[in-house]
Symmetry: C2
Subunit: 226 residues, 2 copies
DNA sequence: AAAAGAAACAATGTATACAGTATTATTAAG
DNA sequence: CTTAATAATACTGTATACATTGTTTCTTTT
């Protein structure tokens, strides 16, 4: 249902293994809610629907399990993982620590050109806010945090952080959708940039912590209102 | 070579898929150095050697890749991942943040019985130190940190932390092997327990940070001496 | 009619076969 | 003798077939 065909393989210049195509397709379906939590994912059925054999489907399911998007039970099969509120709180708790870490490292390591990029993204972000362009706001907010991560030159940190973000994807609009929260977010971003500019790692960690805490509030509120 | 057969499947009461058997076997071989960094892992060869087909071997390799123990290059194959010093520093940087987080949560959440367990483990640890029982010292040090993780009631944090630990497994003795470092470690452990007892989260985070920093020093030194 | 058991079915686990692509070895040209 | 082109080989990618297990349905017994 709504699951697209895999024609795009042909158009692509680069080679992409089928397992990655299936992975991307399923991941997208889960994150956009086309596949809902608890739904069983049967290999044969998916394979038929996607026009491939079970092999790449199996491998894709295992990749999804590694991202904590599906749950695999031996000899029972896979299902879209449902996150409890506790899971979300747990993820946010870890993300808080990692965001603080990243920001404090950025305060030490970030170079002038990178800071300039960050300022440009933030300017665009605030412009998008003026135009109430929600999709763009979300993208630029992500970009902002990605630039900070990049400046840490720590792939491991980046990888773990982005994995946590994927798991929270469903709630990515929770805080940005509420108009009243935007000014606070802008203030946080500016605070982070100021800390970076002043090479004040402690201040950076503190502001980042406040930022995530604020975000956490909104996510939890949006869960409760469902 | 030296790779054991898979007879033990039969003896086991619980069912273990072959992919998990292969995974455990390969993981063990990598962590104990029987498979060295850079070594190519060919599916056919491993399958023959382990007496299984390529299918479970493939799946096991992908699981290992997820733990960052092997590197998979599409259409090229798998090889045991070699970590650079930078990788190790990156991992330690993240672990530092997570250990501090875990300890500060423990200071808030840990219950009396759990603290008692922690004290017991520490007592055993110090006894093992007296007996210079290195294997046991390492195990009890792990147990100590596991108890702290458990008390956080944060599965996500636990999972990520333990994954980082696996990646550092090769260096797990670096600091415990040096006799002169043991008194400092004991002091750290006691400091952590005191912070937990006093419910002083800030103190806990600080001591944990110092502990990891100390550990980091030894790991880096042991790399340079190779 | 309810519960236990057996049989049919459907799903995952594993093995194998075939296809396509890197790599290596071999040959030809300069 | 070196380099480029080509053929042979060895590996991964994918599909499919078979084995095993879990589930459901239908029968049988109490």
């Amino acid at each position: 249902m709504g699951m697209e065909e895999t024609k795009f393989i042909i158009n692509s210049n680069e080679y992409l293994p089928l397992r990655d195509v299936v992975f991307n397709t399923l991941r997208d379906a889960i994150l956009t809610g086309k596949l809902v939590p608890g739904e069983r994912l049967m290999e044969n059925q998916l394979a038929d629907r996607l026009g491939v054999s079970r092999t790449p489907v199996r491998e894709a399911l295992r990749m999804l399990a590694l991202e904590n998007l599906v749950e695999l039970v031996p000899r029972k099969g896979a299902q879209v993982l449902d996150m409890s509120e506790k899971d979300i709180i747990n993820i946010l708790e870890v993300r808080d620590a990692l965001e603080s870490l990243a920001t404090s490292i950025a305060c030490v390591k970030m170079r002038k050109e990178e800071l300039q990029k960050l300022k440009n993204v933030e300017a665009e972000f605030e412009r998008a806010v003026g135009e109430s362009d929600l999709e763009r706001i979300i993208q630029l907010d992500e970009d902002f945090h990605d630039l900070i991560l990049e400046s840490t030159e720590n792939d491991k940190l980046t990888q773990i952080y982005q994995n946590l973000r994927v798991q929270l994807y469903r709630y990515r609009m929770a805080h940005l959708k509420v108009d009243s929260s935007i000014p606070a977010i802008i203030a946080h971003h500016r605070g982070i940039m100021r800390a970076i500019e002043n090479h004040d790692a402690e201040e950076g960690a503190t502001v980042a912590h406040g930022h995530i805490k604020y975000h956490t509030e909104f996510i939890l509120r949006s869960i409760h209102n469902k």
